[in-house]
């Protein structure tokens, strides 16, 4: 059939199984928005208030559903505003297709109005990108874009489409399979003898006495949760997860130690530091996970399974490196290994864990005039019984959420990991709510990050999205302040934040707004927010200068954590938590 380029765009989006597009119109994408009028019954377009948030919402939509998220913007500033969102999707391996309008093909290169070299700008932050100047290429390019975005290690793909291409006619047949000359979803480095590698992995596992599994987001992307649980339970090996790996195994599972790394609980990092075998599955040994590479788990053998060949031996050399999907490997490996348990090793870990419990901030009985963020996180968890999707921003609250919210549901937490994008929580909650309309969705942000995404409150109202927004307000860029306190001699620089009256702000948007300043109010507002059938914004006014511990300072080793004090109950002397070193 004969279609315009614009119609091809919408046909492909529908054919690829997506019916939500987050976007913002403008001159060079006008023909596509014009065609949208005829697709409105099949495609829901969400008008964001800034293109960055369209990309972030599309990213979160992918994480919530496993379906490719789609965002759309016009040329020039519209497209450049997508950049942060695309970089976020690139770092966290989210399948996103971004469609941008470009000036007419005869104007390309002439510095025309709203012309930017968008494929040039986004080259290093996309898995691949296209500039389409010929409508005959468009059907193939659109199909390839979706295929590349979701296959192998997922990532963002940008398609920049000239305005005249959107208007011209082309013969269109739905493309059901994509054949590409160079691209392979999984490309091992050289020839890979998987049976031999599995045999070596089995031998390493057989001989291990203090093994730890490092579980990453690859398990989620490969939908390997079931295979992973079986492997964990048969092997009897304790699991530490990365930030993005949270949700691959329930955190109430006895073998799930929970999150590792810079702000992981001390016993998790102690287990890794003392391990004799690390089994890394679908993770990439990010510096926030390893600390100092020279001292990282130096007595451990390493089995590393990842779908991306370039991650093997990048940061940590692997004794056994396998380029494959975790699901395929575990299906083979689990039957090969013996059912085991490690009582002595677990006893050691539990001893460290008991020490961590003694230092738990929640041991503190808060006075009536004081609120701490960890207590808020725990209250949200308790009130929701953990039955919700959580989207967090970046900073202190993000780390406290990982520590004090017990994630028991599959892929429950949606957060910006690798890029650390402030302003992620609210657009992410919008994307997640469209992906999981029946789920209770919470956005948790600090006062800094939230002020980056305030305009999206209008999107929430326009779409009438039932989202609960929690702002953890300490009137500081808390994590930056913490670094300045700990690493820059308490010299605060540009971290104090004036904030608006968030309750009135919510009301200005026609949204229910509430505030809590102590535990009693906290529980009450959470309850009322959950009862309210509609969006709610809650400001939690918390102590201004508290730090997230434990903490491995940048460049330090896993065993050089800055710990919480044994008795954080000593709050009388101000919020300056003691610090001590452990070995």
């Amino acid at each position: 059939m004969k279609l315009t380029g614009a119609q091809v765009i919408w046909e492909t989006i529908l054919q690829q199984g997506t019916n939500i597009v987050f976007g913002y119109p403008g001159g060079a994408i006008l023909p596509t928005y014009d065609a949208l009028v005829d697709y409105q019954d099949r495609v829901h377009h969400v008008l964001v208030r800034h293109e960055e948030n369209a990309a972030l919402a599309a990213d979160a939509y992918f994480r919530a559903t496993g379906k490719v998220g789609v965002c759309m913007a016009t040329s020039g500033p519209g497209a450049t505003n997508l950049v942060t969102g695309l970089a976020n999707a690139m770092m966290d391996s989210s399948a996103v297709v971004a469609i941008t309008g470009q000036v007419a093909s005869h104007l390309v290169g002439s510095d025309a109005f709203q012309e930017t070299d968008v494929t040039g700008v986004t080259l290093p932050i996309t898995k691949h990108n296209y500039l389409v100047m010929d409508v005959n290429e468009l059907p193939q390019v659109m199909a390839e874009a979706f295929y590349i975005a979701r296959s192998g290690r997922p990532g963002p793909v940008l398609v920049d489409i000239c305005k005249d291409v959107q208007q011209k006619m082309v013969d269109y047949e739905p493309i059901t399979s994509v054949q590409m000359r160079g691209y392979r979803a999984i490309k091992p480095h050289g020839r890979q003898n998987i049976p031999a590698l599995l045999q070596r992995a089995k031998e390493l596992i057989d001989h291990a006495r203090r093994p730890v599994i490092l579980a990453g987001q690859g398990i989620k992307h490969g939908n390997a949760h079931e295979e992973f649980r079986e492997f964990v339970e048969k092997s009897g090996i304790p699991v530490a997860t990365t930030l993005l790996g949270i949700g691959v195994l329930s955190e109430d599972h006895p073998l799930n130690l929970r999150m590792m790394g810079m702000h992981g609980e001390a016993y998790v990092n102690q287990a890794i530091a003392n391990a004799d075998l690390l089994i890394a599955l679908g993770m990439r040994f990010d510096d926030r996970v390893t600390g100092n590479l020279k001292t990282y788990a130096k007595n451990a053998r390493v089995i590393h399974v990842d779908i991306d060949a370039a991650e093997i031996n990048k940061n940590v050399p692997a004794d056994v490196g396998i380029v494959a999907s975790v699901k395929d490997i575990l299906r083979e490996l689990t039957p090969m290994i013996e059912k085991r348990s490690y009582p002595a090793w677990m006893e050691q870990i539990n001893e460290w864990r008991a020490d961590t419990k003694a230092r738990d901030v929640l041991n503190v009985e808060l006075p009536d005039d004081m609120l701490l963020a960890p207590h808020v996180m725990r209250a949200i968890w308790e009130e929701t019984k953990g039955e919700c999707t959580i989207c967090t921003d970046v900073g202190q609250h993000q780390m406290w959420e990982t520590q004090y919210f017990q994630h028991t549901r599959k892929n429950q937490l949606i957060t910006s990991g690798g890029l650390g994008t402030m302003g992620f929580a609210l657009p992410a909650a919008i994307g997640a709510k469209f992906g999981r309309p029946d789920d209770e969705v919470w956005a948790i942000a600090g006062d800094g990050g939230f002020q980056m995404s305030i305009p999206e409150l209008a999107t929430v109202m326009q779409e009438n999205l039932n989202i609960k927004i929690a702002i953890i307000n300490n009137n500081f860029l808390g994590m930056v302040r913490q670094w300045q306190e700990l690493m820059h001699n308490h010299r605060y620089s540009a971290v104090e934040m004036w904030t608006p009256d968030f309750v009135k702000l919510a009301q200005a948007y026609g949204m229910c707004g509430m505030r809590a300043t102590n535990m009693k109010e906290t529980r009450e507002v959470i309850r009322r927010a959950r009862e309210h059938n509609g969006p709610v914004l809650i400001e939690f006014v918390v102590e201004k200068e508290t730090n997230v511990f434990p903490m491995i300072q940048p460049g330090k080793s896993l065993n050089e954590m800055t710990r919480r004090p044994i008795q954080p109950a000593a709050l009388g002397g101000g919020m300056e938590f003691m610090r001590e070193k452990t070995h």
Binding site: T119, G120, L123, P124, K127, H128, L131, I148, M180, R181, G182, Y183, K187, H189, L293, K294, D308, A309, A310, I312, N313, K314, N315, V316, P317
Partner: protein, 170 residues
């Protein structure tokens, strides 16, 4: 990266990668951008057409004391337009580079000497002017290096080298 660099230092050698890429606009830019953003150190990069007009061939030389060649290879593979990558360093290979060297000539005696040197290196004088000569030399990089060092005394005005191209034997 750190560990890779440490490993690479143990085995300091030049690695030659041959990459077949789709002959499309912007592919060279993608390869160059990859090298830059991963902080890969490349010695030379030569690009040209092949027997198949839809495929270009790149010969990339990496100083393995600074950059892990295997990591470059695996990252190249991630580029959608890259069809094949082969590290030919340890394979029997014909390796060539072409250089044009413009040498200063101050008197007739020098002109004769330079011509003799060119002959010894089986290279050709391809341009003769009043105060300079251009020599075209083809061979492995060491050969180009040698003639350059010999010609140094006469005064080298300009040099252009193509960078290494390579083809496995047989």
């Amino acid at each position: 990266m750190l560990i890779d660099r440490i490993e690479a230092q143990k085995n300091p050698t030049k690695h030659t990668l041959v990459a077949l890429v789709e002959n499309k606009p912007g592919v060279l830019n993608r390869v160059a951008s990859l090298m830059r953003r991963r902080n890969f150190n490349i010695e030379s990069l030569a690009v040209g057409t092949t027997e198949d007009p839809t495929i270009s061939r790149m010969t990339i030389v990496i100083d393995a004391s600074k950059t892990n060649a295997a990591l470059v290879e695996r990252n190249l593979y991630k580029l959608v337009n890259v069809i094949d990558v082969q590290d030919v360093t340890n394979l029997p290979t014909v390796v060539r580079e072409l250089a044009l060297i413009k040498v200063r000539v101050t008197d007739a005696q020098h002109r004769g000497e330079i011509k003799q040197i060119a002959d010894m290196f089986q290279s050709q004088v391809v341009d003769v002017a009043k105060e300079s000569l251009i020599i075209e030399v083809t061979g492995e990089e060491q050969k180009v290096d040698s003639i350059l060092s010999v010609l140094q005394d006469y005064g080298i005005l300009e040099v252009v080298r193509t960078g290494r191209i390579a083809m496995t034997r047989g």
